[in-house]
Symmetry: D2
Subunit: 302 residues, 4 copies
């Protein structure tokens, strides 16, 4: 009986790349957190400490910066795809490359109603994401593209109920036909093909998600998520699958009756923990296989 | 020689109060983090463990919820002022009360261009703040009102230089006539009087700060802060003093010359730490005394 | 063409359970963060909003508290296993249950050298973890047990080099034969069988990991991880596989030569981001299949 | 009427300095976060953007690194004091300097029971702190030294009650004669003189605080804090004043009666927010004035 090296990968995480386009009339800004990860013939580095096949993570960082200038960052999907293809094509021991990018959004400052050409204010905590997986090189190369968002915080103050659920001996929850429903949405969608008008597509999918959350009368967060996912697939044929992960951020009605007050859904305690966590995938019945698309480095060790 | 009890205070921190106004046509939401702190004749609780003069922090929390219904939260300043006055007036051992409120902003969801009546999306990480100090009761009661904001993240991609500075034997920094200037602004302003149109005032001061950051050609962050503070006082006679605390979030130009590339201010590394920290107060020369306005509980132990 | 519900699961995350054993001579404390997640026949909740098969996440939370009393928390693995088996056995629509537990460690306070019977001090930021997956019920039920740790921060101030690596056009890194090596280790190991002396096993594996990190002369973090994993398998036949995820927390030698000083590996800048991220699995060549062991809810959406 | 520049200061925050002593038999490590802040004749930088009197924050960072080598870090108090005195003595426009240092603790790894010479494990989340204020130069220079700790998490599972408190119309809290008492202590103490055996003093004061927390039967957290502070002054004549800031981290007894279970102080919910916050100073009746000792930059803007 012996021991074997199982799955392994390495890379540079959280390189903070800011790309400024200094156009004559106004500047553009792309503000990124870039993580790269390589798989391939790196066993010697583990088994004997021989680094001859190991491109330093420092070089990966340098490449992320250099590509931001050479290749540019017109959108995060095509930037990340170019970076992943570069590692798969140019670095001999690499069999697969993964690039994850978070983008922080900025809005232009308005001065007396007009957009300022080079001053910006951060638009919020919401993050736009992409995850690119590339395997092989040349004609045999394949790519999987995920786009998404994280920390999109949504709340509806009515139009949500929760009733008719299964009860066991540990169930004490009362049914309700009117509650606050709030979440901090993580969504990722997988594209049919590695090409598209990525900025426009992201904006339209984000809008579909928000509109569905708002307008679906929710019998449970599960139902809201299904309707949101289904609506995205209905709206955009470019999307093969969407995955939604939604904490149920509980807002508890505060009992004010000891103080002679009647609380008719007006004062709530927003609790931190615990929270419900509801997750689902919605996909086309003819969606192509997902391959390594969902294998993120942050989930490697469970 | 003996030991004496010095300054002391106690309260309930970070009560998460959400107030919904269920108007017929649309809901309104006020999402708050409320901290209350009392000073007064509480020495026995320390010296002998006698709690007879101590209103439990749990009761302070209950009061925060009850006031959200009874008194309402039309704006955080008047809600917090009412709460602080209540403690000073109604709880016998209290000599001074302080209420700090953070407000998280929500925007209405738009569906097909129209505002949805009861669905909201979080507007960003920026927080609106107020800090109220009240001393005494009845006719002798005095109140100090601070309003402010935190985590307002601003960046300008040009229009900032840093040169002509003092040099010592540890100085290696190169001068620059064009750099990225970025900060996450904390600002608090002290009002002349404990009354005002708080929402409108906050919006106008926030806009003055942003416009000045954008339009002042910055010879240093110090200068930008002074111009921002001065402009607030010039615009709003209601304000006695403003304090600004601004980390200088360094964006370092990446040297791409080893790769045969010339980086003309287009690719930057956004560094986390260390950061510069620039702070100043700007005040009217006839500003009334600040009293306990700036003594926040979080700074008690230095 | 239609849309289908893909993978889906739901549960209660981050329930903070503290269990005190009030023994006559001294108290014991188990301080847990418990997350439960259920898979099964829940499609109706998504597709039509029918909750008849959905055990509320609130009931899952209640069960976590009740089991802490009824079943007890002698160790996190057997507590979590009992909880997961309960959901799989007793809740009819459940096909698979997953329970993740983090445990925060406390040490006894020492007073004049002796252990105090009921006063404790938190032992550090390191977290002990377990993840249990159970599928099926009764005789066909199967269970997979992961144990682990997170945020074990290790540093060696010499005995680490990095040289002989692959170079490409973006490589500028200098080789080094003496550097600081620091990481914040996440490790999880999969057990051969769902039974064991969990506390003793955890302690011994933790010690093996630390000793190997210390004593292996590191030609790269990859090599250190392999040696650490291999040593665990060699020491404990109960373990089928171990996965290690290790950020390389860079400590950069500060160039003090502009100040006439020679820095011989004595002063470093500890950088936050970016960081290298090295990951590998080490397993027995006859390890049983991992099944759903590594499918954590937090990685569901990539 | 005009506007004036009020209080102002600037510096470099959160420089991460790691100092290794490479002794022949074993290495020592000092792992610091250093923040420096200068006050003085810097008005021109604000008012006109003239930087001629401004030592760059980058130079302050360089000085922190250089002093770690030249001056060494035998303990954080003398390192920080040397740094503060340097700025006050050597940089002409400086009238006052403040240096705040956090130290992260490391323990030696044990291999087969013996201490390893150059491998370390982080000792916990607790942080040792110092804050030095220096004013003036040469013979007229004065210095104030604070030492302290932060994030010392303590819990006692019995020996704590809370009863006999003041009740108002918003009070619903039940009295209790046996509860869990938990806190994450921040303590800072002010020294009589700017000299001492800092490491030994810190260890002994930390131990007094912990022992008192454990052994005092607590009628309220207020009483525990007073006894802890008083005991420090009684034990160490070097200390003029101590300030304690203690969140009351609530552990709520879970009601298990709906499940037919009796919870006799064995299962608790550890809540995150809100929390009580109790703060007090204990000082000698002949303590020298505190001067600027407690004026931390982080509290500048309230």
């Amino acid at each position: 009986m012996g021991y074997v090296l199982g799955a392994h990968q390495y890379g540079k995480a959280e390189t903070r790349v800011v790309r400024i386009y200094r156009h004559a009339d106004q500047h553009l800004i792309r503000d990124l957190k870039v993580s790269t990860s390589l798989r391939g013939d790196f066993a010697d580095a583990y088994l004997s400490g021989d680094q001859a096949s190991v491109l330093p993570t420092d070089s990966q960082k340098n490449t992320a910066y250099a590509f931001a200038l050479e290749r540019g960052v017109t959108d995060i999907e095509s930037y990340a795809l170019a970076l992943a293809r570069h590692f798969a094509d140019e670095i001999e021991p690499v069999r697969g490359a993964r690039v994850d990018v978070d983008e922080y959004q900025w809005e232009r400052v308005r001065v007396a109603g007009d957009e300022h050409p080079h001053a910006f204010v951060r638009a919020g905590q919401e993050v736009r994401t992409t995850s690119i997986a590339v395997e092989g090189r040349g004609h045999e190369q394949r790519a999987w593209i995920l786009s998404g968002l994280r920390d999109l915080v949504l709340l509806k103050s009515t139009g949500s109920e929760f009733a008719g659920f299964l009860r066991d001996r540990y169930t004490t929850l009362a049914e309700t036909d009117d509650r606050v429903l709030a979440t901090s949405l993580t969504a990722r969608w997988r594209h049919m093909r590695p090409e598209g008008d990525w900025d426009a597509l992201h904006a339209s999918i984000r809008q579909v998600l928000i509109e569905q959350f708002a307008t679906v009368h929710s019998r449970a967060l599960q139902q809201s998520l299904w309707e949101m996912g289904q609506a995205v697939l209905a709206a955009r044929e470019e999307i093969a699958e969407i995955r939604l992960s939604a904490p149920n951020r509980h807002h508890f009605l505060v009992d004010l009756s000891p103080f002679g007050l009647t609380n008719r859904g007006e004062v709530f305690h927003a609790d931190d923990r615990p929270y419900g966590l509801i997750q689902c995938a919605v996909q086309r019945d003819d969606a192509p296989p997902a391959g390594p698309a969902w294998d993120a480095p942050h989930s490697f060790a469970g």
